[in-house]
């Protein structure tokens, strides 16, 4: 299967601190890939570098075969890569539908009419399970609904690859269930998903494969069951007992 997203030796340093250290990563078309790692491993930086909010110091990023290393985030989005934010950044002055509509209008390189954009926005809201909120003001949404609106906005851009940054954090159990269902539905619809998530049950049950980021490198990529049992991962998360090392 061909890789949709490919990172080669991507490096990013803040001052003397190398947050990403010649990192390689490939995400295949159509998969749900989980990205885990302990606090401070560099997950958010990696996301920002992939999405274009930060530029890497080094390395090459390709999306669907074409290089996007030097593109800004708006341009990357129009090429099929959309993200959500850990703390939702909604357009609070607009309705839910308008939030998704902007994404449909501007995320897509092809010209489209207003009604097409609205239709696509509604479709995205339905996929994210918040279709019935279309007319509501974005400012009145609950945390869970905000997260889902971020997801819907990413979908509405028509992106092939969704970067989801902790979409499940702060959701209650019902919302969590809905979110999991939505993501599965998205995957069967043909989206590729790369997700950072701290709600481990959800991540482990959704992901086809999980990549583990530790001190700026991907230390392993495998199916969830094997990742969770791998001593390196347990060590990265729980730490190493003294004297064992």
């Amino acid at each position: 299967m061909a890789a949709l997203l490919q990172l080669k030796e991507v490096t990013k340093a803040f001052g003397s601190l190398r947050v990403l250290d010649a990192l390689d990563l490939e995400v295949d078309k159509g998969e749900i890939r989980g990205l885990i790692g302990p606090n401070g491993a560099g997950k958010t930086t990696l996301f920002n570098v992939i999405a274009g909010a930060l530029r890497g110091d080094h390395g090459v990023i390709t999306l669907d075969g074409s290089e996007i290393t030097h593109f800004g985030s708006a341009n990357r989005c129009r090429r099929g890569l959309a993200r959500t934010f850990q703390v939702p950044k909604l357009f609070v002055g607009m309705t839910v539908l308008e939030n998704a509509e902007v994404a449909a209008l501007f995320g897509n390189p092809g010209h489209q009419s207003r009604s097409e954009a609205v239709a696509r926005a509604r479709w995205a809201l339905n996929l994210a399970g918040i279709g019935e909120l279309a007319g509501a003001k974005a400012s009145v949404l609950t945390t869970g609904q905000r997260k889902m609106l971020e997801l819907a906005r990413a979908i509405a851009t028509g992106a092939k690859l969704l970067l989801l940054d902790e979409v499940m954090a702060g959701l209650n159990p019902t919302e969590l269930q809905h979110a999991c269902d939505s993501l599965r539905a998205l995957q069967t619809t043909g989206f590729t998903i790369l997700m950072v998530e701290h709600v481990m049950q959800a991540l482990m049950s959704l992901s086809h494969r999980v990549s583990v980021l530790f001190s700026g490198k991907i230390i392993m990529t495998d199916v969830p069951e094997r990742v969770a049992c791998d001593p390196r991962v347990i060590e990265a998360y729980l730490g190493k007992a003294r004297g064992v090392a």
Binding site: S73, F85, F91, M94, F106, A154
Partner: protein, 336 residues
């Protein structure tokens, strides 16, 4: 707001406003009305960048003054039609808007944008002050020709009525333009940029392009208002149209009506111009009132009069404030 209902409201308001001169015969009252309309255009144009674009500029008077001076000078020295000169003045203001927009694009944080735009306005004012051979500096540019006649309608300093209609048309056109832009995809892009620049970029909005567009539109409208102003009052001094006081008035008008609302700045302009004129007995205390009003509004009614109904409603239903938020020691991320 839906475009259709906005257009209907604008039409009704314009028609009603058109009847005003039939009721009011006092030349003085009409004069105040013309000023109110011109300031309404100015406040509405500033509302575009600040209220809809989220960029709080402090130099909008520069575009107003540029439009006024360029148009006045062209009409005086080249003898061209005042409408042509106003158009050229508008283009000047628009170009100036693009010029100041470029550094502003790189700035995040209201104080930096405020300083940069204020410095720009000061430059324009100083130029008007210093080019005495052209502008006569602070002693003022006098003898600006009134608007050229349109068919049978002639303009003179003695009669405010034709100017009233002229200003009303300009305001109506401005409002329709603003409403149409806001209802279009461009308006959605503006809103997205204002609410979250990061998110706007992440969904493919070309932030630079739309910010420049916003500045162009806003400065052009301000320039056009300036042109009309110049040919109405026929005397210009740098401090009367390029001073910080003008900016204070614009901000007060937009704020009192409600930033980021379609009619707010217009309502604010009318209330403040007419209201303060009614308090004429206060005479020179006007500017003091403007200053005090700004402070009071920003503390008590930061969203302007337009938020008043909402505030009353929420006070009546006694909505609890957000729990867990300690107002005494709020901990927020405050990075510039």
């Amino acid at each position: 707001m839906k475009l259709k209902s906005a257009l209907i409201q604008i039409t009704i308001a314009t028609v009603l406003a058109a009847l005003v001169p039939l009721v009011i015969h006092s030349e003085y009252a009409l004069h105040v009305a013309v000023l109110a309309l011109i300031f309404a255009v100015l406040a509405a144009s500033w509302n575009l960048v600040s209220g809809y674009g989220g960029m709080f500029t402090f130099g909008h008077q520069a575009f107003f003054g540029l439009g006024a001076y360029v148009s006045a000078l062209l009409a005086m020295h080249l003898g061209i039609s005042t409408y042509l000169s106003i158009m050229i003045g508008t283009v000047f203001a628009m170009v100036a808007g693009v010029v100041i927009c470029l550094p502003v694009l790189r700035l995040r944080g209201a104080p930096y944008i405020a300083i940069a735009t204020l410095a720009f306005a000061e430059i324009v004012k100083l130029i008007a002050d210093n080019l005495t051979s052209l502008t006569h500096g602070e002693s003022g540019l006098a003898g600006i020709p009134p608007l050229s006649p349109i068919g049978a309608m002639t303009f003179s300093i003695a009669d405010s009525r034709p100017y009233y209609y002229c200003a009303l048309v300009l305001l109506a056109v401005t409002m329709v333009l603003v409403a149409a832009v806001l209802a279009s995809p461009i308006g959605l892009a503006f809103g997205a940029i204002r609410d979250s620049q990061d998110a706007a970029e992440s969904i493919g909005v070309d932030v630079t392009k739309y910010k420049v567009l916003l500045f162009m539109l806003s400065s052009a409208l301000a320039g056009m208002a300036g042109g009309l102003f110049a040919h109405y009052v026929t005397v210009l001094t740098p401090s009367s149209i390029l001073g910080i006081d003008v900016m204070v008035q614009i901000i007060a008008m937009a704020l009192i009506g409600g930033l980021g609302t379609l009619f707010g700045p217009v309502v604010g302009a009318i209330i403040l111009t007419v209201g303060l004129e009614l308090l004429r007995s206060l005479g020179d205390y006007q500017l003091m009132l403007y200053g005090a009003l700004l402070v009071i509004i920003i503390i008590v009614l930061p969203r302007g009069l337009s938020s008043l109904p909402m505030l009353i409603a929420s006070a009546a239903t006694k909505q609890p404030s957000l729990r867990g938020e300690s107002w005494k020691h709020p901990i927020k991320q405050r990075e510039p």
